[in-house]
């Protein structure tokens, strides 16, 4: 066996071992990635309807007064403008405190776009700027939103905001613009990279679980199968992607 033959044999062996190793390990690595969020989506590859992104919020773990999710959302999405009237500012996620009128029992929870299966905002949008991605994430196309605010009138959760003033210092991955309506995107730019939404990552209590509702083995599906959960305003039959536990 000549030196060059030996070299090519070694290269072949190494490649084969690496190949087998990759084949053996990849599903495991893939599963680990999925258990966190999802596999990263290659640029140009369309979102798949096989996935339905959802979120489960455990209100028993969510502390009143804690707004780590709100802060993380604002930082991640470049929501940093100051407004004299808070009602004119963007609130992609807000904390709501509840007190049962009869029993006095209290709850605290974050309210955000509920990423409905049948989103009223998408129904009413005159231009189609409000849209639902194949994987269930409800978004606004900034290029064709005309700022009519009909979606804000239609949203049962008050989850949408109009940008009331010109913006600076934006996050390049999260385009925003004056005169357009916006809302929580489930941090779509992170989810597409296989990461978790910023709020989920920031929650100190681990009260938020994000994942694929269509995958029976995902952490969120397993939790939903075991624990009782509700949808806010379930009477509207919108089949939201965001579910709450403990209320």
């Amino acid at each position: 066996m000549t030196g060059s033959q030996e070299k090519s044999r070694r290269t072949f062996l190494a490649a084969t071992v690496a190949g087998f190793g990759a084949v053996a390990l990849a599903p495991g690595l893939h599963l680990i990635a999925l258990s966190h969020a999802g596999a990263p989506r290659a640029a140009g590859e369309p979102a798949s309807s096989k996935v339905r992104w959802g979120m489960l919020i455990d209100t028993t773990k969510c502390a009143s007064g804690c707004d780590a999710c709100v802060k993380a959302c604002n930082t991640e999405n470049g929501i940093n403008e100051t407004v004299a009237d808070a009602r004119q500012g963007s609130q992609w996620i807000r904390k709501i405190d509840l007190k049962d009128q009869k029993t006095g029992r209290t709850h605290s929870l974050p309210m955000l776009c509920q990423h409905c299966e049948h989103p009223p905002c998408v129904d009413v949008c005159p231009t189609g700027a409000s849209m639902k991605r194949a994987d269930g994430i409800v978004l606004v196309d900034r290029h064709i939103c005309i700022g009519c605010r009909y979606c804000m009138m239609a949203c049962p959760f008050k989850a949408r905001s109009l940008v009331h003033q010109p913006l600076t210092e934006q996050n390049p991955e999260v385009p925003r613009g004056v005169g357009c309506v916006e809302s929580c995107t489930f941090c779509v730019h992170r989810v597409d990279k296989g990461q978790q939404p910023a709020c989920v990552e920031a929650c100190p209590e681990g009260a938020m679980v994000f994942g694929d509702l269509n995958d029976p083995k995902s952490a969120i599906s397993l939790r939903l199968a075991q624990e009782a959960s509700t949808q806010v305003r379930a009477d509207l039959k919108l089949n939201q992607g965001v579910r709450y536990q403990g209320i």
Partner: protein, 401 residues
């Protein structure tokens, strides 16, 4: 104020009115430019009170625009001779009011510069989307209808054009009402009765506008409307006022009895400060009861000017009604968690308030300014003054049926 003997004074007055309408319009356009440049932060509107004063004015103009066409429809579609000479003015008012209302809505958009996007991207499930077709269609059909009315060669086509315009306007107002009727999220809206309620309100407001414009035009020309014709028109207005009040009552009863929106109704009808005041004082008393007295109590209704005053009051009531309906509906919090007391950083569980600021006030009023400007110029250039051939009407018995 008859100018028949003094054409120079008449001309001066015309230019003064054009200047007035132009000034109000220009102020509104300036305000819109400012809002476009600085963003909606300069208005009193926000993420809770999403639609404000511009929408109150625009929706009045759009609803009344379709209603004012009713005068023409009664002549062309239902063959009532008294209404036929009034059809051209009715058509002109319909077009100009719709133009004024739409201009305000478009200029209030967050991205008013994207008008072309609105016209080239169409979502068939959106009631707003339907309106993108319904409004231009209304312009086209009413424009055609006006042509058949005003060009003798086209007269034979007036009836089919009138029928088309009548049907189109019914669909159009159904669309305007359904903008609110299909909003399932909010206690104030989400009701199928809103579309027919808007149709009857449009009959009422449109006829009131027509009577005011007609009265002013007659006075300008030193004429007086024949009492018998005037009585027919004022009786019709009375019927519309009463019918509208019936629908408004049904709408509130539906909310109370069927949808159990007790808290909202208590707010809007009893405890909501400005809103119950505007509803009972503005819409019910000034806009409904007083006009009915002015129109139907014989000793009062015979007095010249009573129908004119009733019409003015109906319009005042219309604005009160729309303010309560649009602003009051948004001031009241959404009920996301029934049975819970709710607090948050974003007005959850709290009753909000709305204070319009000057940019949106100027923009809102400019809708009226634009309509006024177009009508003033229109009635001077073309023959829109309703002229009655009384002998012919009497001979045919049209004044007695």
């Amino acid at each position: 104020m008859a100018f028949a003997q003094n054409p120079r004074a008449e001309e001066r007055m015309f230019y003064l009115l054009v200047a007035l309408g132009g000034l109000v319009t220009a102020a509104g356009l300036g305000a819109a430019l400012y809002m476009e440049h600085a963003g909606h932060v300069v208005t009193g509107m926000n993420n809770q009170i999403v639609w404000g004063l511009p929408h109150v004015f625009a929706i009045f103009l759009i609803v009344a625009a379709s209603g004012v066409l009713n005068v023409a429809s009664i002549g062309s579609v239902f063959g009532k001779a008294v209404y036929k000479p009034r059809a051209p003015l009715s058509g002109l008012l319909a077009l100009t009011m719709l133009a004024g209302g739409l201009a305000v809505i478009m200029l209030d958009l967050g991205r008013a510069d994207r008008l072309i996007v609105a016209m080239t991207h169409f979502n068939p499930t959106s009631v707003f989307g339907w309106n993108v077709i319904l409004y231009p269609g209304f312009f086209a059909i009413v424009g055609l209808y006006l042509w058949t009315l005003m060009d003798r060669a086209m007269n034979p086509y007036a009836k089919p054009a009138g029928i088309a315009a009548f049907l189109w306007r019914l669909i159009l107002t159904t669309g305007t009402g359904s903008i609110f009727g299909f909003l399932v999220a909010r206690q104030a809206y989400q009701s199928a009765v809103i579309a027919p309620m808007f149709i009857i309100l449009s009959f009422c407001w449109g006829l009131a506008v027509f009577l005011i414009v007609q009265k002013v035009m007659y006075a300008w020309n030193g004429l007086e409307l024949d009492m018998r014709i005037r009585n027919r028109l004022k009786n019709l207005l009375g019927v519309f006022v009463a019918a509208a009040a019936y629908f408004v009552a049904v709408y509130h009863l539906t909310n109370l009895y069927f949808a159990k929106e007790m808290a909202f109704e208590r707010f809007i009808l009893l405890e909501g400060g400005l809103f119950p005041f505007l509803f009972w004082g503005g819409y019910v008393f000034l806009g409904t009861l007083l006009p009915l007295i002015l129109l139907y109590v014989p000793a009062i209704s015979r007095v010249r000017g009573s129908a004119f005053l009733a019409s003015l009051l109906v319009i005042l009531g219309a604005f009160a009604f729309l303010y309560v309906f649009i602003i009051g509906g948004q001031v009241f919090p959404l009920d996301l968690f029934p049975g819970y007391e709710v607090t948050s950083s974003f007005m959850d569980g709290k009753i909000d308030s709305y204070a319009p600021r000057w940019p949106e006030i100027l923009l809102a009023v400019s809708g009226l300014g634009m309509t006024f400007l177009f009508v003033t110029i229109g009635v001077r250039i073309f023959k829109f003054l309703p002229q009655d051939d009384l002998a012919k009407l009497e001979g045919s018995g049209a004044l007695h049926d």
